[in-house]
Structure formats: C-alpha cells, structure tokens
C-alpha cells in the first residue's frame, strides 16, 4: 500500500509540517543537552571524544536546518535569485558528490537549463536524501534526465544497487524531512518548474522535477 503522496502532505498539512520542523530542531537540541549531561556525569576520554564529535554534528545540523527555514521563508516570500545557464549534469554531480548510494543514469549530454543553479543543486541533494532515508539495504537512488515537452525532467528513483553501491553506508548523511521537500518544491517552482511524486510501481515513490529548457 502506498503512503500518502509526500508532496500532498507538504502542501496540505501545515500542522504536520510544523511538527516535522520542530522535530528537526528538537532532536539535535536533545543531543546537545544529552551529551553535555553525559560529560558531566562521566568525564572519561572516550565520552569526551565521542561527545565532542556529536556536539559538533548536532550544531552543524541545527545551523543547516535554520538556514533551510530562512531560505524557505525567503522563497515563499517571493525572493528570487538571478537564473544562470548551466547543464543539469554538472548540478546533479555537485549535489550528489561523495554519496556512495546515489548514481546517475547515463544520459549524455545533459540538457542545459536557465535556472537558479544553487537552488537546483539543493533540490537534487534534498530529494536524493529523502529517498535515501527510505531506501532499504541494497537499494540506491538513481538520478536520470530526459527532455519532455520543452522541459528537462530530472527523475529520482530507488533501484537495486549495483556493485559499487550495494554495501555502502552513509554515515552522517543528510536525512529526509518535510522541510527539505517543501523547500525543494518551492525552489523548483521559483525556477519556473514543477515537482511531482508518482508511484514507481514497487510500492515506493519517485520524484520528478520538470525544469524549463534553456531557449535557443
């Protein structure tokens, strides 16, 4: 059985969205409090070393989440960034670099689009992370691109992992969240495109970002 379309949840459930944002903020906060308390309670080298690493990680995640919230507010408030011309392959490669469980399907040459490149990279990273957080072991995210009706359609789907990705784990990887999905949707729309989720036929969802091709 399919879960409800994740994008319809993003659009309709403000209560759920706010709860998700609160969860995104409170979890690293609890980690900060928890490790600070543990250092006071058990002040040995091992605890200090682990706590130090986790506190830095929790701080980085808090900062990133606040940045995403501010960006979402700006985009929903109508702020736009100047579009530039770039090929989608470069943006996808930049967004997924370093991830052993994200692969790009061969579709050279990738089309050029006129859009907010930083935003598109963020979209690609967010959607891939969201799918990855749902992926069972042995599954990877595959990003492919096709030209459809004047648009470049970037598709993010789960697929069986090949030899290079089968056993990979991603320590400290970005986690999926409704905040990132909502931000991804708004950034696609700000670039004149659309983002949709559709069943992939195996009980999961795939995401398709349609972006206007560069004219001429």
């Amino acid at each position: 059985m399919h879960e409800p379309d994740p994008l319809s949840e993003v659009a309709n459930l403000d209560e759920g969205f706010l709860s998700d944002v609160a969860h995104e903020l409170k979890t690293p906060l609890a980690v900060v409090v928890g490790y600070a308390e543990l250092i006071g309670w058990r002040d040995d080298e091992e605890t200090r070393t682990e706590a130090s690493a986790m506190l830095l990680q929790a701080g980085a995640r808090l900062s990133e989440t606040v940045d995403e919230l501010l960006l979402l507010l700006a985009v929903e408030g109508g702020a736009t960034r100047k579009p530039t011309s770039f090929d989608l392959g470069t943006a996808v490669a930049a967004a997924t670099e370093g991830s052993a469980r994200i692969a790009t399907a061969a579709s050279e040459p990738w089309p050029r689009v006129l859009a907010d490149q930083e935003g598109i990279e963020r979209i690609a990273a967010s959607i891939a992370a969201h799918l990855l957080s749902l992926a069972e072991p042995g599954r990877a995210v595959v990003v492919s691109c096709a030209e459809v009706s004047g648009n470049a359609e970037l598709t993010f789907a789960l697929a069986p992992a090949d030899g290079s990705t089968a056993d990979a784990t991603e320590q400290g990887a970005r986690r999926g969240s409704l905040l990132r999905l909502r931000l991804a949707r708004r950034l696609v729309e700000a670039s004149g495109g659309t983002l949709r989720a559709e069943p992939d036929g195996s009980g999961a969802w795939r995401f398709v970002a349609a972006l206007p091709l560069e004219q001429g």
């Binding site: 059985m1 459930l13 969860h23 979890t27 980690v31 600070a36 543990l38 986790m54 929790a58």
Partner: protein
C-alpha cells in the same frame, strides 16, 4: 520473544542484563542512547535504523524490551509496534519522540505499546522510563497533552475503511470488499473524518498516517 525479564540491584547495576532492541534512524541519538546505557542493567542486543530492519531483527533475537523512535524513515513507530504485536512479540515497547504531541500517549497505547518518553537529552528520564517499563509499569510521559474529546482512535472497522480509501477504492468497492452496505461505508467514513478532523478523503488518510492510526 518474551516478556520483560531481569531484576535490578539497589545501586541500579545489572543483576541480569535486560536485552534491548533500539530502533532509531538518527546516528547521533543512537550514540547518545548507547552511552546512556553503558554500565546499566540494559544490554543493547541490536540496533535498527528502520522499521523493516527492526522487524527482521525481532524475528531472530530474544528481546526483553523495545526502545523505538516515533519518526522512522519507512513508517511511524506505532505502526512498527502493531506489526511487532501481529508477529507475536509481547516484549514491552517504549516510544520516543522529540515533540510533546496531543493524544500521543493514547495513540501509542492503542497501538499496543506500554510507554512513552520525550527525547529531552536527560539520561535519568530515559533510564527511569525503561526501568519502570521493565518492572511492568506503564510509564506514559505526562508532558504529552491528553487527546481532545471526540478524537478517539479509529475503530478497527473505521481503520479498515480508511485503509481501502488509501488504496484508492471507491465507496462501492469498499462496501463489496467488506460485505456491508454503501450507507455503512459512508457512516464509518464520516465517523473517521470527525475523529481525524478531516473534510476530504485524502486529508483523512494523510491525518491517519501522520498519527500512526493506519
């Protein structure tokens, strides 16, 4: 799988370890829980980062207690508890969440779990809840506000109707599938809408998922 066992000595140290399955997708929280349990009567028998992984581990391990995060990547913690109970596991389950949420305790209880604890970062709160659970108490965190009147959990029949709605079935198809009349389907759906505060089918399905009722 067994009911919780083990006893605790006066200083809180282990007399016999309590075997625990931690289900948590966040590596930072997993690390914190592991450190909290060090030197206690609890032994981390296994760690899962998704509900699917937890179900698989629960089949293979002899466990005394589950510590489950509510927001898992593949489903919410209450759905996992339902699946564990259906699979025959009777070990008590403690649900963790970062937010205090209205009706959370009732939802968790309806799913077949025995307690809740807020993820505040307090080792003492976590261990106290786990120890209470181990002793057979029902430690539901009182910081979760009670469910509003009229927002009771779905009845099994209402849940079944919503499950079919989620599959895209029409009222007619649902009435055939359940062997009831069209009017009964409408009544069951109407009741579910009221309980979920929903006005449309998709909204009701989404709300039920969000609250772990399906």
């Amino acid at each position: 799988m067994e009911k919780a066992r083990g006893s605790q000595s006066a200083n809180g140290d282990a007399a016999r370890p309590v075997s625990l399955l931690l289900v948590e997708d966040d590596a930072m929280v997993r690390g914190w829980v592991q450190l909290c349990l060090r030197g206690t009567e609890f032994r981390l028998a296994a760690v899962a980062s998704s509900a699917a992984e937890a179900l698989e581990l629960a089949q293979r391990r002899k466990l005394d207690l589950y510590l489950i995060d509510y927001h898992l990547p593949d489903r919410v913690g209450t759905e996992l508890v339902r699946d564990l109970r259906q699979a025959g596991s009777t070990a008590p389950a403690l649900l963790m969440t970062a937010n205090s949420e209205r009706g959370f305790n009732e939802t968790v209880r309806d799913a077949g779990a025995q307690g809740t604890v807020l993820k505040t970062g307090s080792r003492e709160e976590l261990l106290k809840a786990m120890r209470n659970l181990k002793e057979g108490d029902r430690p539901f965190d009182s910081r979760h506000p009670k469910r509003l009147p009229g927002r009771a959990a779905l009845s099994p029949r209402e849940r079944e109707v919503l499950r079919l709605v989620a599959l895209g079935r029409t009222n007619r198809e649902i009435s055939v599938a359940l062997g009831v009349g069209d009017e009964t389907v409408k009544t069951l759906l109407g009741r579910a809408f009221v309980k979920l505060g929903a006005r449309r089918r998709a909204q009701a399905v989404a709300a039920a998922h969000e609250r772990g009722l399906l």
